[in-house]
Structure formats: C-alpha cells, structure tokens
C-alpha cells in the first residue's frame, strides 16, 4: 500500500507533469481559458491515464517489445474514444467547450510517457496509482492555470462574476496562454537557479521538450522521461 501512496505523491508533487516536467503543453495552453475547463480536461485525462496504465500493466507480458508503441496507442485511443462518447452523452456542455482537444488526448505525451516509463514494467496496482497520481497532478496544475487566466482575463472564479477590476481580456485569449506559460517557466528557471546555488538536486526540473526537438529523433525525449524512474528502481 505504501508504494501506491508514494506513486500518488510522486505524480502530484515530485514529478508534477505540468509544473515540473513540462509535458503535455498543447492541452495545457488550449483548454485553460477557465478553471472549469481545466478541471474537466484534467479529470478526463486522469481517467484515461489511470485505466490505460492499468491495462498496459496487465498486458505487459503479452505485448511484444517491438510493437509496444502501436499497442499502447491503440489501448489509449480506445479509452479516449470511450471518454469522448461518455462526455458527449452525459456532460454535453464540457464536450462542446473542450471540442477537438478530447480526441487529441491520444497524443498527449504524458500518457505515452507513463506507459513506456512505468506501466510496461510494473504490476497492475502501482501502475494504476501511478496513472492516478500523474493525472491528479495534471488536473491540479490545469485548474490552477485556468483559475489564474479566468481571474485575470474575466474577473471571475469558476464562472462566478466578481467585478473587482476591469478584466484584462487578453489573458483569456490565445496570447494570454503563452504569457502565463512564460511566467511559469520563468519561475521554474528561478527555482532551478537558486536550487543549484544551494546545491540541491534539480535534475528533475525540466522545460519539457523545449531543449531541442532534434534530439528527440535519437530517442532523447523518451530516455528523459524514463531516466527519472530507472534511477529510482536501482536505488
């Protein structure tokens, strides 16, 4: 049971996919126009992440190594399709506002990254909690970003108008997303700089694939996501 709690803590705080690892930036920027959208997107991704992690862990001895990526993608895409149909039936308002970004959960690199880095080599229960932790970490950061953008851009919280100041509408539009993310990465850089000065281990703090995509071609991206977990298992 300890391992499960450790996985949750790892996903939400230590290796928070958005704020620490900077993965899955497309949905993060696109859907966080309001807190409720961020929450909806985060929870949908959490369900897909936890369930697909569980199924991949269950099938890890059956899936051949060479075709594991296509197999992962089929499993993930099935769950995404299920979630899409469920949302369409039961929460049509959310389905409408998230639109094309629901099917695009398939190409969210957090999900494929977790499948490759954790679920493919670990038992079912820890994999489920790994997915749950990562998903909740994603949900929390998306909600916070959404709250921030909604508050500055529309002067409202979870859809409740506050009318405290004149809203800066640009924060709800596309450029605002870039500015908020720029702010987040700047804070991250600062934390990293002061951490290095004090001699802390900051190797896990990364600016996503921002370093250089060309290295991705030789498998750097994948290794980076996996490296963090490999270290832990060896220790």
């Amino acid at each position: 049971m300890n391992k499960c709690v450790e996985r949750l803590h790892n996903g939400i705080i230590k290796e928070n996919p958005t704020l620490v690892l900077m993965l899955g930036m497309c949905p993060t920027l696109a859907v966080t126009t309001s807190a409720i959208n961020g929450l909806g997107m985060g929870l949908t991704t959490t369900v897909v992440l936890a369930l697909s992690n569980m199924i991949i862990a269950a099938l890890r001895n059956i899936i051949p190594d060479k075709i594991r990526i296509p197999a992962f993608i089929v499993i993930i895409a099935s769950f995404v399709t299920m979630m899409q149909l469920l949302l369409q039936a039961y929460i049509p308002s959310l389905y409408k506002s998230l639109g094309i970004y629901i099917p695009l959960i398939v190409v969210n690199c957090i999900i494929l990254g977790r499948a490759e880095a954790y679920a493919y080599k670990n038992p079912i229960l820890p994999s489920f909690f790994d997915g749950l932790g990562m998903g909740l970490g994603f949900t929390i950061s998306l909600t916070i970003i959404g709250l921030l953008r909604e508050f500055i851009g529309g002067c409202s919280v979870f859809g409740h108008e506050l009318s405290l100041f004149t809203p800066i509408a640009i924060f709800k539009m596309a450029p605002g997303a870039f500015f908020v993310l720029a702010l987040l990465t700047a804070i991250q850089n600062q934390v990293k700089l002061t951490g290095e000065k004090k001699g802390r281990d900051v190797s896990k703090i990364q600016s996503g694939c921002g370093s250089d995509c060309m290295q991705c071609a030789v498998g750097d991206c994948k290794d980076r996501v996996m490296a963090a977990d490999n270290e832990k298992e060896e220790a």
Partner: protein, 196 residues
Amino acid sequence: MIMNTVRDLLIILVGSSLVSNVVLSQFLGLCPFLGVSKKVNTAAGMGIAVIFVITLSSAVAGAIYKYILTPLHMEYMQTIVFILVIAALVQFVEMFLKRFMVGLYQSLGVYLPLITTNCAVLGVALTNVTKGYGVLYGVVNGFATAVGFTISIILLASIREKLEYNDIPKPLKGMPIVLLTAGLMAIAFCGFSGLI
C-alpha cells in the same frame, strides 16, 4: 457553382493559414514549434516536411472516413483509425523517400519521425471531419493549416536568431523568452481576425 467552390476554398485557405493559425491560436504542434525553431534553415525544413505530411494525411484520412468508416457506420472509430493511419503513413513516406527520392529524403528525413506524434496532424484530420469537409476541402484545409505552421515557425526562428545576441535576464533565458515572443506573435496574428 464552381465560383462558390472557389470562394469557399479561398476562405478556407486564408482562414486556416492566417486567421486561426494552427500554432498561435489553436496550440497544436507546439512541441516542434518550440523545439525546432532555433535556426531558420531547420525551421524551414520542418515546415516543408509538415506541409507534405499533413496534406497527404488529410487526403488519406478524409478518404478513409468517407469511403470506409461512414458506409460501415463506424464513425466513432475515427480517433483510433486516424492515429494508426497517420503513424503508418509517415513510416511509409519515409521508406518511399529513402528508396526513390534520395535527395528529398536527405533534406526531410530527419524531421519525419518527429511528425508522427505531432498533434497538428491528427488535429487537422479530426477538424476536417468535425467541420464536415469532403476530401477536396479537407486537403485544402490541411495544406493551409500546414502553411500557417510553416509561416509561424519560420517567423519565430528568425526572431530567435536575433535574440541570441541580446542580454536577457537570467530567469527568462531559454524557454520563457521564446514563449513571450510567441505570445507577442499571437497578438499580431489576432489582427488577421478581421480578414474574413
């Protein structure tokens, strides 16, 4: 009749490349946009590879949707089918270029594996279906979207080349300043919204 089609196609062309730019207003394909934009040369190479793949994949995905999924009433399978088709298509294009067009392969080959997981490719295929575009409209939309991607990545790369020589505050070095630049570009692109 023909005039109407031409007008619609023109609207799609301008709308998808400039007004609702794939990166700057829809946030698709953000990873290559930020990752491969250090030099103008590589950015242009990436852009051309993306144009090539997106145009081709919207044709194939559109045809599969219209002639296979719709008659079988399996529209709900679109996400799974599209992602597999795109992955296979990129592999196939890579093999084809390697065998028959060596020159083109040498200039685009490095970018192709990066494109498989580019969400813009899947995004365009799904948008075409959502908006009810047929194969012809879908191909034009795909082409226009990819041109929009190329325009924005080349613009960003040229700005970043200049940024290299500037004195940037330490915490803003690297990603933050690039994102700020992208944000300013997004504001500029908002100006296109009056075009249609």
